[in-house]
């Protein structure tokens, strides 16, 4: 069946198309270029409408143990936000931490067709994928966390052969069904288990003697040499610390030109000026990002209101428990593998600190020049729920609206930020880069995030409403693999998205030392740790897309 989307204004940055009126043809789930006399079976007239590829969220905590701990911790997040099922959809709940099904529906209703869980613990990979398997419509994938796991730290401290370290990284990506690798407070989650309370970039881990810098460089080089497209995804040291900007700048400077992705960089851009000893370091961070083409970032914008933070960074989350609101929290050491810290948080527009966090995020968006290296995130749910994205897009596209919002927040905070002086307004083309083409390119999703021939027909159609928040909150149409899923913000069909993985090569002999390690120390067998494809495919609940990796260097 041939479907034609006629006459929309197309924003497809991967193919350099900036608002041109074009027709798009869909057949068998893909974008095609039909012969001129092919019979069109179904046509959608889209004159005046804005057409983009489906949105891709490259960093959103939607599946895995810590998210379900957050769900259990916060019934008050759900009460009042219950959603009944329909003929097509199942019931669910949630404001900041929605249930899995509701998260999938809401992403689709917002025009998104893919969402990536950025913090999958190897020991929790099975559950993370089960939760993603219960997240309908959107494609998904997960970044596996390394760098505080004892196997890696033992390799690094024991000066293992670098190719063995790469084998372990690649093996873990296979075993945990990951598309990328993330490091969280490098070495710090492990150091916290040894009662270290902070770990600066060049501070030694009390037991292993290695530094976060060693860990970052090893993983960055390892991931690159394995040919994994997405660079090491770094949640740096000193999250949320006033003065943490210095660590961020040192991390960029120390990256030695290796590709790195610095995630939720807003939380790592705080200076120590002013009476409150808390100021914006956004200008310096943006300058460094602009000057270093090997660096990509996502922002982790703070949005005002109640949320619940969920992070692998036990070391920093334990400190943050003082600010938990409401006052309850979970910190967990996990399996000689990683950890998690879950605590509710309320960002208040009248709070000096929270208002400044909000301003710093916006500064970063407006000061970083290249949208191909900057992705739109709130680090859902840590900065705020992903359902805030349309509001955030309006803040970026509409200076007048931004200034109105600035008048409502703590005014002292604005004195320590340059936000008021920034005139930039994002264009639709730039938004399409930041929310589609950029994440797809960065994650190595070859047939997603664009509208060229051969791409998966994941397409969002918006009314070109000058109120960009309204426009992006309720797309008129959403197609997933060519099927109409959402019409005027309502789901008309439910499908199951695919799970994207990357499978760099490794030498299978790594399983010999790994098996001994599992047998000696762990409480789970290596054979049971590995997640086979069948568990994801799960009688048709899911499917797997293996994205290409480059050739392995040595």
């Amino acid at each position: 069946m041939l479907t034609k989307l006629t006459g929309g204004k197309v924003y497809d940055p991967e193919n350099g198309i900036d608002g041109e009126v074009r027709d798009i043809f869909i057949e068998n789930g893909r974008i095609v270029s039909p012969s001129p006399n092919a019979r069109v079976d179904h046509e959608y007239p889209l004159h005046g409408r804005v057409v983009m590829a489906g949105g891709i969220d490259p960093h959103t905590h939607i599946g895995g143990g810590k998210v379900t701990i957050a769900r259990m911790l916060m019934p008050e997040d759900h009460i009042g936000h219950e959603v009944a099922g329909t003929e097509l959809t199942r019931p669910g709940v949630g404001h900041a931490i929605p249930s899995t099904l509701t998260a999938g529906y809401r992403y689709a209703e917002m025009g998104y067709t893919a969402a990536f869980e950025p913090a999958m613990l190897p020991s929790n990979a099975r559950q993370a994928h089960m939760e993603l398997g219960d997240t309908p419509i959107v494609d998904k994938g997960a970044f596996v966390m390394l760098g505080s796991d004892d196997y890696f730290l033992r390799q690094l401290a024991g000066k293992s052969d670098f190719s063995a370290i790469k084998d372990y990284i690649a093996w873990t990506m296979h075993a945990a069904q990951a598309i990328a690798v993330k490091v969280v407070n490098p070495g710090g989650i492990s150091a916290f288990k040894f009662n270290q309370r902070k770990l600066d970039l060049d501070e030694k881990h009390a037991y292993y003697g290695v530094t976060p810098r060693d860990i970052i460089l090893t993983l960055a080089r390892g991931v690159q040499e394995l040919g994994v497209v997405h660079p090491i995804h770094i949640h740096g040291c000193n999250l949320g610390v006033p003065g943490g900007v210095e660590t961020t700048l040192a991390t960029i400077k120390g990256s030695e030109g290796l590709p790195i992705h610095l995630t939720h960089i807003q939380f790592h851009s705080y200076g120590t000026e002013g009476d409150m000893k808390f100021s914006s370091g956004a200008t310096r961070v943006a300058e460094a990002v602009n000057a270093n083409k090997n660096v990509s970032i996502d922002v982790g914008q703070v949005m005002f209101g109640q949320t619940c933070t969920a992070s692998g960074d036990t070391m920093r989350q334990f400190v943050n428990t003082r600010s938990a609101d409401p006052k309850k929290w979970v910190v967990m050491d996990i399996e000689c593998d990683a950890g998690c810290g879950v605590l509710p948080f309320k960002y208040r527009d009248k709070s000096y600190v929270n208002a400044l966090q909000w301003a710093i995020g916006l500064e970063l968006f407006l000061l970083v020049n290249d949208p191909w290296r900057l992705f739109l995130t709130t680090d859902h749910p840590n900065g705020g729920p992903f359902t805030c994205y349309p509001h955030l897009i309006r803040l970026l596209m509409d200076k007048t609206f931004r200034q109105e919002m600035m008048r409502t927040i703590n005014q002292d905070a604005l004195k320590w930020s340059t936000l008021a002086s920034l005139d930039r307004e994002y264009t639709l083309y730039e938004i399409a880069i930041m929310t589609r083409a950029g994440p797809a390119r960065s994650l190595g999703l070859k047939d997603r995030g664009h509208l060229g021939v051969g791409a998966s027909a994941d397409i969002t159609v918006y009314d070109d409403n000058p109120d960009r928040e309204a426009m992006f909150a309720t797309p008129e149409l959403l197609f997933k693999n060519g099927e109409l899923i959402v019409r005027n913000g309502k789901i008309v069909k439910v499908v199951n998205g695919a799970t994207h993985v990357a499978r760099p090569a490794y030498d299978a002999s790594i399983e010999k030392p790994l098996k001994a390690y599992f047998d000696d120390y762990l409480t789970m067998r290596m054979e049971n740790f590995r997640l086979p494809d069948d568990e994801i495919i799960d009688r048709g609940r899911g499917s797997i897309v293996i994205q290409p990796t480059g050739a392995r260097a040595s």
Binding site: P75, A84, P91, N124, V330, E335, L522
Partner: protein, 430 residues
């Protein structure tokens, strides 16, 4: 990914290594299982619970209505009719795997019912603390390698998990030292089996026989002392004050301490406050050193039921779909309370692991999906035998620490259906 040789059956069919055991919450996955004259035999790394579970002979019982054998279709059709006609069905028991629980959620949504696990009362001693104040926890591997002090709080862990001490406390190899330091094991409570605490790793065993319902007092006193309060009186929680001071000194000196409890053992009124006292002590001591709780128990798939219900509905069990939306109330939708108060007119009971997970003795009409031989105090309206995940069919189950989940394997030929499939066919007939 290639399977290792060890994963393949050898000596013909029915010989398996690295088998995960679903018969208690810690899910040992190093069992070796082979054939026997009557079925399966645990060849290696067994325990009383796994032997009882795996070696139960296969009985391919028939579905029944009012105690009389009927074809499965007939039982399914009647079950659907009863659910359709019910004002407020309860979907309870829930001794099942991930897919069984997923199927329960769907049918509860469509059937407008309440979801609750048989062991929720125990789980809620923990959940209430999670939802009101939180805690610092650890997991089995972390405790196994790291802890130098274990406090076993009011729970007969050896009875609940016959291999816990062997695998987590008495292990000789430790990741952080070739000559790991000896461990101190404190039994805080009366009548706790210490027989498994043996071997080279064990240094001191300290007995502090207090009543379980006074553990909270002791932990609260220790927290107060840490904060500088002076406690007078000769005893604290029934123990000599000096013994509690000594325990606190051991805690303060520990490199990594662990307090382990099984909520099911804390079977006295308001036991959540005891869990809270332990959790608040853990929060306090973590301001200066490292210490963590280890929640144990989790029999009969209860962590699986709680987790799946939480990720799909937002709430950890005790949720009602009577009005179409998930409606949560941990008191109101307590299944046992509802049955006693006659607030439900139909109970669907699912118990696929052990025959001991009996439904409550109630005159509410019952549909039982149970493992053959399930102990029933009265004949249910409908009985449908189901297979056991990890024996009769494959599945996945979540461990008691709610971090690790393990694959369960089909170990024998069996006609017993998966509970998930039976429930799906009932749902399709609704």
């Amino acid at each position: 990914m290639q399977d290792l040789k060890s994963e393949q059956s050898r000596n013909g069919a029915n010989h398996f290594e690295n088998v995960a055991c679903p018969f208690c919450g810690i899910l040992c996955d190093d069992l070796e299982i082979g054939p026997s004259a009557t079925g399966l035999k645990v060849l290696k790394n067994g325990c009383p619970k796994s032997v009882a579970g795996f070696e139960r002979p296969l009985v391919e019982a028939n579905p029944q209505i009012d105690g009389k054998d009927v074809p499965l279709d007939e039982a399914v059709a009647l079950a659907a009719k009863l659910i359709r006609e019910s004002r407020l069905p309860i979907f309870g028991g829930l001794g099942t795997d991930i897919d069984g629980m997923r199927a329960i959620m769907k049918i509860a949504e469509r059937g407008g019912g309440v979801v609750d696990h048989a062991l929720s009362e125990a789980q809620y001693r923990n959940f209430r603390v999670l939802q009101s104040s939180g805690w610092v926890l650890t997991t089995l591997t972390e405790a196994r390698n790291r802890a130098d002090l274990f406090i076993i709080a009011g729970s007969d862990i050896h009875e609940i998990h016959p291999r816990f001490f062997e695998r987590v406390v008495c292990n000789e190899a430790s990741m952080f030292s070739d000559a790991p330091p000896k461990r101190t094991v404190v039994f805080l409570g009366e009548g706790l089996d210490q027989s498994a605490v043996t071997g080279k790793r064990i240094g001191e065993i300290v007995n502090l026989p207090c009543k379980a319902d006074r553990i909270g007092e002791i932990l609260d006193a220790m927290r107060a002392m840490r904060k500088g309060a002076t406690i007078t009186g000769d005893t604290i929680g029934g123990l000599p004050r000096a013994a509690v001071e000594d325990l606190l000194a051991r805690c303060n000196a520990a490199t990594y301490g662990v307090i382990a409890w099984a909520a099911a053992s804390l079977a006295f009124p308001n036991a959540d406050l005891t869990v809270q006292a332990m959790s608040e002590f853990l929060k306090e001591i973590n301001t200066t050193s490292r210490f963590a709780g280890l929640t144990l128990g989790g029999d009969e798939g209860s962590p699986t039921a709680g987790s799946v219900c939480a990720w799909q509905s937002g709430f950890p069990l005790r949720v009602s779909f009577a009005n179409g939306k998930p409606e949560y109330d941990s008191e109101r939708y307590d299944m046992m309370r509802m049955l006693a108060a006659k607030e439900s007119d139909l109970l669907l009971w699912l118990a696929s692991f052990t025959p001991d997970l009996s439904p409550p003795d109630t005159d509410v009409p019952m549909i039982v999906l149970g493992t053959p031989g399930i102990k029933l105090s009265r004949t249910p309206k409908i009985y449908i035998p189901v297979g056991t995940p990890g024996i009769d069919h494959a599945g996945i189950i979540i461990r008691v620490d709610t971090v690790v989940s393990l694959p369960l394997r089909k170990l024998r030929k069996s006609k017993l259906p998966r509970a998930a499939d039976v429930i799906a066919s009932i749902e399709a007939a609704l």
